[in-house]
């Protein structure tokens, strides 16, 4: 490994010193002045932010390989480990980063790209265009696909992916399998991630004979996990499923990968998020019916289940739902100029014409106008968590410039309307208790979601928080934990192998490790540079060597941009090609690549 920066400064120093003496001796002032007046070109420099290895060993390893390659390409790289919540603040709010590597939970719908890449969000916080990417072409495609359906939408999306492949605002490194462990007595099909998967676990009778007392215990690990329980903040809580269980949505998106794992479908058929889920497949939750009307402009009539209440006993009605959408669009509720939108769920808010046009027909019915948006994209809008008006309305007050209390509050005791309510949180556990008289548990109704058959088999849900992976595994082996939810690094698999009471769980997923670029960086603003950088990591090698094969490398345009397909239709792309073999970079080839786009090298250092 050779370091670029020091040799450069040494070179500068020597050049300066020799220049000075030569000019002094020869009396040649011209040379001296030209050296003094012109600073030579500098080395291209990048910082890479990611979480420390304690929090995500795999992200750290990916950065390690990436750093070596980028360094070999003559770039001055500084990897900067930083706690997850601070990383999200830096990347999503402050824009203080050059490159970041992160594990993303995965996209649900093609329309997620709208929030992620539309230039309308270039100055907003959250997962709204954190790359500061702005392109009229991409904007057009993003708007177009919203208004289209079927084959036409498919074609627009194909063009969008082609364009994004050329411009590469971010790139996927690998889709890690979900890895975890379960006690045989529970026999979970996969490590649970989403709320709907936890609910399915809670509804399924434990495999062991006899009734089981106590809550379902889920193992997680990390630092400061219970500090922030605010569902609309960026540095939002990282406990899988938690906030979506407490705050129920109108409808829930079904989990295909979970159902696949439960049905024993082999991992060779990965889950796909590259197919649209039709609105009818969404599971009605707080809503008992959603009627779509697409004659003319699209609208949806949502009717709520009668008798819904918040966990504090207050009734839940259509006003709360309309309020939630208003709050997400402007957390100051009209007090601040041009509004302060919530950084989460922002892309979905733009699916509606204006939140003010949502009409509360009566206490249980709302009409939502979607304008030109098509149903597959619009259905996503109905999955945002519904918030209680009586608690969140006072939080619209401003606490600082462009900051409302709704965004800064830790929301220590969340009050939602889900089947589980917040019980207690400490440094080593967080407890959710079942709501005894919840409408969705009312066996009289006939149109209950099938996933709730048998709910609940446990007295609530207990997250058992360990300080690191090793202690989480120990807790599973000791029987203190029924199933793990935080991802297990592949190297931990062996520790589960010898125990008969525990089984290893692996299931393919749509979560992904991605590299994101800040296009405000002078070099990263150049799409050609981003494209070359995106090739400087051997994805196949990462999957086989670092993940022990328990991940999938993206090979198609779509999968490099976060959309996995069950069958890889297109051929592997030359664009993704790693210039080297078996993880070893061919330095000459990389230099030629940078040469071709107009960059220069001096002493192995890439110059600006």
């Amino acid at each position: 490994m050779t370091r670029g920066a020091p040799s450069l400064s040494r070179r500068h120093l020597l050049a300066g010193a020799s220049g000075l003496s030569v000019s002094a001796l020869a009396g040649c002032a011209e040379r001296f002045w030209s050296r003094a007046e012109n600073n030579g070109p500098d080395q291209v420099a990048l910082t890479i932010k990611t979480v420390p290895a304690d929090d995500d060993a795999m992200a750290s390893m990916i950065v390690s390989r990436f750093r070596e390659n980028v360094e070999a390409a003559g770039i001055d790289v500084s990897p900067e480990p930083i706690t997850e919540s601070e990383l999200y603040r830096d990347v999503l709010l402050e824009g203080e980063y050059d490159v970041f590597v992160i594990r993303h939970p995965g996209f649900a719908e093609f329309d997620d790209l709208y929030g992620l890449l539309h230039s309308q969000f270039v100055s907003e916080g959250g997962w709204q265009n954190p790359f500061h990417f702005s392109s009229v072409t991409a904007d057009d495609f993003l708007e177009q696909q919203r208004a289209e359906s079927g084959e036409t939408r498919r074609e627009t999306l194909a063009e969008l992916f082609e364009y994004l492949t050329e411009t590469t605002p971010f790139t996927v490194v690998a889709y890690p399998d979900r890895i975890g462990g379960t006690r045989r007595s529970i026999d979970a099909p996969a490590p649970p991630q989403r709320a709907i998967e936890f609910i399915d676990l809670l509804s399924t009778a434990p495999a062991a004979a006899g009734d089981r007392d106590g809550p379902l215990t889920v193992g997680i690990y990390g630092d400061g996990l219970t500090g922030r329980l605010n569902p609309i903040a960026v540095d939002q809580n990282r406990i899988p499923g938690l906030l979506d269980l407490v705050y129920a949505p109108l409808v829930r998106r079904p989990s295909e990968s979970w159902e696949g794992a439960a049905a024993g479908i082999s991992p060779s058929q990965p889950p796909s998020n590259a197919e649209s889920v039709s609105p009818e497949e969404y599971i009605p939750w707080l809503a008992d019916d959603v009627r779509w009307d697409d004659t003319g402009r699209l609208s949806a009539t949502v009717s709520l289940r009668p008798g819904l209440t918040w966990h504090d006993g207050e009734p839940l009605d259509a006003d709360d739902v309309a309020f939630t959408f208003r709050l997400l669009a402007d957390t100051s509720l009209g007090t601040a100029d041009s509004g302060i939108p919530a950084p989460r769920y922002r892309g979905r808010q733009t699916l509606v014409d204006t939140p003010d046009q949502i009409e509360v027909v009566d206490g249980l019915t709302l009409e939502i106008p979607f304008g030109t948006t098509t149903a597959p994209a619009a259905a996503q809008f109905l999955t945002v968590p519904i918030l209680p008006q009586h608690i969140w309305e006072p939080r619209s007050e401003l606490v600082a410039e462009r900051q409302t209390r709704a965004l800064t509050t830790n929301n220590d005791a969340p009050v939602g309307s889900g089947l589980l309510e917040f019980g207690d949180a400490g440094s080593d556990a967080l407890v959710l208790e079942p709501v005894a008289d919840h409408v969705l548990r009312d066996s009289v109704s006939t149109d209950m979601p099938a996933v709730l058959d048998g709910f609940p088999q446990f007295e609530g849900l207990r997250y058992n928080i360990s300080p690191n992976v090793g202690t989480m595994v120990d807790a599973l082996l000791a029987g203190d934990v029924d199933v793990t939810a935080s991802p297990l690094p592949p190297e931990q698999i062996e520790s589960l192998a010898d125990d008969n009471a525990v089984s290893l769980l692996t299931a393919p997923s749509t979560s992904m490790y991605l590299i994101g670029y800040n296009t405000h960086h002078p070099e990263l603003g150049n799409p050609n540079v981003r494209r070359i950088l995106s090739r400087l990591i051997d994805r196949e090698y990462i999957v086989s060597e670092l993940f022990d094969g328990l991940a999938t490398a993206p090979t198609t345009q779509e999968s490099l941009l976060g959309y996995r397909d069950s069958d890889d239709r297109s051929d592997p792309l030359p664009l993704a090609g790693f210039p080297g073999t078996d993880g070893e970079l061919d330095v000459e080839r990389v230099r030629r690549l940078f040469d071709e786009i107009g960059y220069r090298y001096e002493d192995g250092v890439l110059l600006r």
Binding site: M1, R3, A5, P6, T47, P52, A53, D54, A57, S60, M61, V63, S64, R65, R67, S78, P79, E80, P81, I82, T83, E86, R89, D223, D428, P467, N468, V469, G470, T471, V473, D474, A475
Partner: protein, 275 residues
């Protein structure tokens, strides 16, 4: 519950070590004499004890604020600088070089030294100096500890630094928590993973060793024991992938400063010069 069992184990092991060392190094006679006038001794070292307790209490009570200032206000992440500096100075990073000698026995030894040896090394001199005729050495020790903590904790707020194991798990291994994950329950209680520069493990251990050298006439046996332990602890922080070489160097410098201050001043002097 798991934390309690880890703490209990620590207490048992360290107590055993302390009793053995007390009998061998201090001797029963000296101890009995000391115990006869406990009151006078306690009065003499009340001020340094109170000062140390105050610093520790301040740290404990302001940990939230300190973390916020460290990350949000100052945001001085020096981790890549430490890595680059060492890459410039050495052909192979000292931590990686040490880890090439890795063996299960060595890992167990260094883990033992890092946790149990360290606790013993800090506690034993308190007993030993307490048993002396005057309380000067004990006051010096306690003041030096206080200085260590004060400067060390100030550095922790000024600099965000992650250790080698957190920086790059492919170059450096986190041997302690890979092998003994439960220890994290213990270390989590007293430290955050960004508190790396300087190494307080090194500085406090070296402080004890330097003071052992200065009191060699009173406890000749303690010099080699504390020397071997202190150096093993400094090496263990690197071998286990917890600290950079730079942290250990900075820790040793901090120890020298602390011992100098501890020897030259008393709490009363410091109070007067500030007042």
């Amino acid at each position: 519950m798991a934390l309690a069992s880890v703490v209990l184990q620590l207490a048992l092991v360290v107590a055993t070590m302390l009793v053995t060392a007390t009998l061998v190094v201090i001797g029963p006679r000296r101890l009995v004499t000391a115990l006869q006038d406990v009151r006078w001794r306690l009065e003499m070292c009340l001020l340094p004890v109170a000062t140390l307790a105050l610093v520790l209490f301040l740290r404990w009570s302001t940990v939230d604020i300190a973390v916020r200032i460290e990350h949000r206000v100052l945001g001085n992440n020096i981790t890549p600088r430490l890595f680059e500096l060492e890459q410039l100075l050495f052909p192979v990073n000292p931590v990686a070089a040490l880890q090439t000698f890795q063996s299960p026995e060595l890992t167990s030894f260094f883990a033992f030294v890092y946790i149990y040896g360290y606790a013993f090394l800090l506690l034993f001199p308190i007993i030993a100096y307490f048993a002396l005729e005057t309380m000067d050495d004990l006051s010096t020790l306690l003041l030096a500890f206080t200085v260590n903590y004060t400067i060390g904790l100030a550095c922790y707020v000024l600099f965000i630094a992650y250790g080698p194991r957190n920086f790059d798990p492919l170059l450096f291994e986190g041997l302690l928590y890979d092998g003994f994950p439960q220890m994290r329950r213990l270390t989590n209680q007293v430290n955050q993973s960004t508190n790396v520069f300087p190494s307080l493990h090194t500085s406090l251990s070296m402080t004890v060793f330097f003071l052992a050298w200065l009191t060699r006439e009173k406890y000749p046996l303690w010099v080699p024991v504390s020397g071997v332990l202190a150096i093993s602890i400094a090496v263990s922080t690197m071998y286990l992938g917890i600290h950079w070489f730079s942290d250990v160097v900075a820790g040793t410098v901090l120890a020298l400063i602390s011992v100098h201050i501890g020897r030259s001043y008393s709490i009363r002097d410091l109070g007067r010069s500030i007042g």
